[in-house]
């Protein structure tokens, strides 16, 4: 192709790329959650650290019995995390200045835009409209990208299962609730002081604000999970700073998929544009070589022709000169011969 054509195409591609809107995963709108999705509100000022929730979860999900029994409260001194045999843990925090110990129940937060779902390339995770983030074992390949992606470090892997390891995490009792076996998740039903409340997410937000209003000074005026990582379906209230409860406060309000969508959107552009670009550059440079070769050949031909022409000219000149000399020599010889013939006749006549 002509260089001009190529440059024109390149310019058009650039303008086209620049005009397009920046690509954002999960839609170009700000996702505020499925409108009727359910969630859980946890109130750290009510929790007494009895671990009934852990026992309830273990029972309804038929999980293996834990190493320590659920009424062993001394285990709370150790900061635990979720494991493949326990979907939720309660940890105890002794905070200087607080009237007593504060307890926090930790489990999958069922984000509105989950990072695990965004990182899974086989779509094993689904954000259901009911609110739960569920995991489908039939397509999972066990790559464990979800464990890396989760900002709360929740999904756990059954490392000691060689043949059929699963990703284990809280399901918000989705299968049990949708099949009608339970009306509220196992942990919520087991709590004796209603530190956990199950309901529609927007209702939970309203209830939380009501509590702020009714009991000023008791709560920190912030619902953890309202906006963190774009919002979660599990909301937390506390009377102490959340970082004192080991909860990250540096997560920001941008959902995880949106953080990576910019880089990911660049991939098709790169895949489409670079081959064209590089091929074009290759084509141009090859053409350049070709043209150079042609010109060289032409120059050589011209030089050869010129030399030949010169040589022929010289030859012709020499030939003409030789002709002329030969003619002149012949004439001289003839003249000489004639003079020679005329001379002796005069001598014999006496």
């Amino acid at each position: 192709m002509l260089r001009r054509t190529f440059l024109g195409l390149l310019g058009a591609a650039g303008v086209g790329a620049a005009l397009g809107k920046p690509a954002r995963a999960a839609g170009n709108q700000h996702f505020t959650g499925y409108p009727e999705s359910f969630g859980v509100l946890f109130d750290a000022t009510r929790c007494i650290g009895c671990r009934n929730c852990e026992a309830g979860c273990n029972k309804v999900n038929e999980l293996p019995p834990p190493p320590e029994p659920f009424d062993d409260l001394s285990i709370l001194k150790v900061k635990r995390r979720t494991h493949s045999w326990t979907y939720t843990v309660v940890n105890r925090y002794d905070i200087p200045g607080a009237p007593g110990p504060v307890f926090k129940k930790w489990q999958c937060n069922h984000c509105l835009e989950p990072a695990c779902a965004s990182s899974c390339f086989v779509r094993a995770f689904t954000k259901t409209s009911q609110g739960a983030v569920t995991w489908d074992g039939t397509v999972c390949v066990g790559c464990r990208y979800c464990m890396i992606a989760c900002p709360f470090e929740i999904p756990t892997f059954e490392f000691n299962e060689p043949l059929t390891p699963r990703i284990m995490k809280c399901t918000l009792c989705y299968p049990l609730i949708t099949s009608g076996k339970l009306t509220v998740p196992g942990c919520v039903g087991a709590c004796p002081v209603e530190a956990l409340v199950y309901g529609k997410r927007r209702e939970l937000l309203r209830i939380a604000h009501e509590r702020f209003h009714d009991f000023p000074g008791r709560y920190l005026n912030h619902i953890y999970g309202e906006h963190e990582m774009g919002g979660t379906n599990w909301l937390y209230l506390a009377g102490v700073p959340f970082r004192a409860l080991g909860m990250r406060e540096d997560l920001g309000v941008v959902p995880a998929p949106e953080l990576t969508s910019g880089a990911l959107a660049g991939v098709p552009l790169v895949a489409a544009a670079w081959p064209v670009l590089l091929t074009g550059i290759y084509a141009i440079s090859r053409r350049k070589d070709q043209v150079a070769r042609q010109e060289t050949a032409q120059a050589v031909a011209r030089a050869v022709a010129q030399t030949q022409a010169e040589a022929e000219g010289k030859l012709k000149k020499a030939m003409t000169k030789a002709e002329a000399e030969k003619k002149a020599a012949i004439e001289r010889e003839v003249k000489k011969a004639l003079e020679e013939a005329a001379k002796p006749q005069s001598r014999e006549g006496e």
């Binding site: 007494i48 009237p99 209603e194 529609k200 000023p216």
Partner: protein
């Protein structure tokens, strides 16, 4: 030339990494935090006067004031050794009256401090660092931290100062108030004594010096310390402390507390007599009648509040708690709609705001946080619109009929002050102050809570014992006794959201049995309601037993 280019690029990389590590190292550098004031002194002053003008070349000087005064006193020298006197007034700055251009300032310190040290060293006395040992004074990491407690007068120590035997009255008076209390005439630039207008120093002497008015710190030191020194010089035995540790040190303050207690115990009534400033006994809090002007057809409707000023004086250590900015009536700055002087806080907010100790409701609510009260009051909602009955505890309806012929609120607020005071007295006397409860014999002794008995046996709740304990907590507290006059009032801590009655409704009447999905209100289901009620009360009253997780202390587990 290729070799040269490679060398050049390597040099460039090394330069960049060198620069980066240089800046990186700077960012890492951190001083070791100073150990907390286990070895703290109350007299440490950080001399960094030049910091206001330029970046300091050397660390600020940590100066121990008491050490120096002690040393000087041994030589029979007084404050004027270091503090200049101007018009009979001591200048609290060192060897100067005010700050001057920086070079001279530095020279003042160096020449005088080091000069004195050198003189004393030459005379063989114990002296501070001499010339040349800069870092001996400009110590970047002093091993001692300042541990200075705030000092001031409380009710008892103030009363001790009013004793004319300790602090003699000035010429024409029998009271010695004029020794400390003064007003300022801005035109004449002089202070003068205004009787009956004494207030706290803090009304004018603020945290920082302002327009020639000394800061509280400066004023207090000049007034208090100077007087104590004078008394000491005159040989008075109980002259009061005049070194830093004597007021600001922890040991000294503990000693003062003890001495105050002993002094009060030695008084005839074992309590501090009432301050004599001509304050009213009863005050009628009403609107300012001027607020009703320009509002035809919109009368002011607030029923007045009869305020027992005499009783409230006993409940606070000083007047500043309520009279926080001046002794003027509240409505002067806190107007109907709010004014700049009042910090844009209007009259209603100034009396009812829950977050300020100076407001009536704010103080009362603060008292509810005490362990005796918190068990019930911590989980009683702070409603945005309280019921009429609770307003009537202060805004007595009787006001309208107390005046012969009756009077509307806008008429009452237009009364003259003597009439208002008389009305207030009448209203206060007319209140019934007897705390009421149902007779303990009428209260059930035990209540069996068995609605949800499933995993556990029914709980035998010692009802009468609990009521008796709560009543004991109220006794002797006038605030609690006033607001719990209705016999059913104290029952409302548990038997809530229903009118006070001798037989209140059961919990299960309102709290349903099952744990429902999030309801329209913050009303828990029965199990959680009962647990929250008991557990939160125990926790808020700081009771160790029964612990919330000690299930069998309240109900035995059923054997399987």
């Amino acid at each position: 030339m290729v070799k040269g280019r490679r060398l050049l690029s390597w040099a460039g990389i090394l330069l960049l990494s060198g620069a980066a590590s240089f800046y990186g190292i700077q960012a890492q550098g951190e001083k070791e935090p100073l150990k907390a004031a286990a070895t703290g002194r109350p007299d440490l002053i950080k001399i960094d006067t030049l910091a206001a003008y330029q970046k300091l070349e050397l660390p600020p000087v940590t100066f121990s004031h008491d050490k120096h005064t002690k040393a000087l006193r041994q030589d029979k020298q007084d404050c004027t050794t270091c503090h200049l006197v101007e018009n009979g007034k001591l200048s609290l700055a060192y060897m100067r009256r005010k700050n001057s251009p920086t070079a001279a300032l530095q020279e003042i310190y160096h020449a005088n401090c080091i000069g004195c040290h050198m003189e004393r060293a030459a005379a063989g006395k114990k002296a501070g660092p001499p010339d040349g040992l800069c870092r001996a004074c400009h110590n970047a990491q002093p091993q001692i931290a300042a541990a200075r407690l705030d000092a001031g007068l409380n009710q008892v120590s103030h009363f001790r100062h009013t004793d004319p035997k300790l602090v003699p009255a000035e010429q024409n008076g029998k009271d010695n108030c004029s020794r400390c209390h003064h007003e300022y005439d801005a035109k004449a630039k002089k202070t003068f004594y205004a009787q009956g207008k004494e207030g706290t120093c803090r009304y004018c002497h603020l945290a920082k010096e302002k327009e020639g008015v000394k800061s509280l710190e400066q004023a207090a030191h000049l007034q208090c310390v100077q007087c104590h020194l004078d008394l000491d010089k005159r040989g008075v035995k109980d002259h009061g402390p005049h070194d830093c540790a004597g007021c600001h040190g922890a040991a000294a303050q503990a000693g003062m507390v003890k001495k105050n207690q002993e002094w009060v115990a030695a008084l005839p009534n074992k309590e501090v007599p009432r301050l004599k400033r001509g304050q009213p006994d009863a005050v009628l809090i009403t609107h300012d009648p001027k607020w009703g002007e320009g509002r035809p057809g919109k009368p002011l409707l607030m029923d007045p509040v009869a305020f027992d000023h005499q009783a409230h004086e006993k409940y606070n250590d000083n007047c500043r708690v309520c009279h926080h900015a001046s002794m003027e009536p509240c409505e002067k700055c806190h107007t109907l709609l709010g004014a700049k002087d009042g910090g844009s806080i209007n009259f209603e907010q100034s009396m009812h705001s829950l977050s300020s100790r100076a407001s009536c409701l704010g103080c009362h609510t603060g008292q509810q946080a005490a362990a005796n009260c918190a068990g019930c009051h911590n989980h009683i909602r702070k409603a945005s619109r309280p019921e009429d009955a609770s307003c009537r505890q202060c805004h007595l309806l009787a006001a309208e009929t107390a005046i012969p012929g009756g009077a509307s609120p806008s008429q009452i607020c237009a009364l003259k002050p003597p009439q208002k005071a008389a009305l207030a007295e009448t209203l206060l006397k007319g209140r019934n102050l007897n705390p009421g409860t149902y007779a303990l014999e009428e209260v059930p002794e035990t209540v069996e809570i068995k609605d949800l008995a499933d995993r556990f046996q029914p709980s035998k709740f010692t009802h009468r014992k609990h009521i008796a304990a709560l009543l004991k907590g109220i006794k002797g507290n006038p605030l609690a006794e006033y607001f719990h006059r209705d016999p059913g009032a104290i029952c409302q801590g548990c038997h809530h959201y229903s009118p006070p009655a001798k037989e209140p409704p059961r919990c299960g009447n309102c709290h349903s049995g099952e744990s429902l999905l999030a309801r329209e209100s913050n009303r828990p289901a029965l199990l959680a309601a009962q647990h929250q009620q008991c557990m939160s009360c125990h926790a808020d009253m700081r009771l160790e037993k029964p612990a919330a997780t000690a299930c069998s202390e309240c109900h035995q587990e059923k054997k399987k």
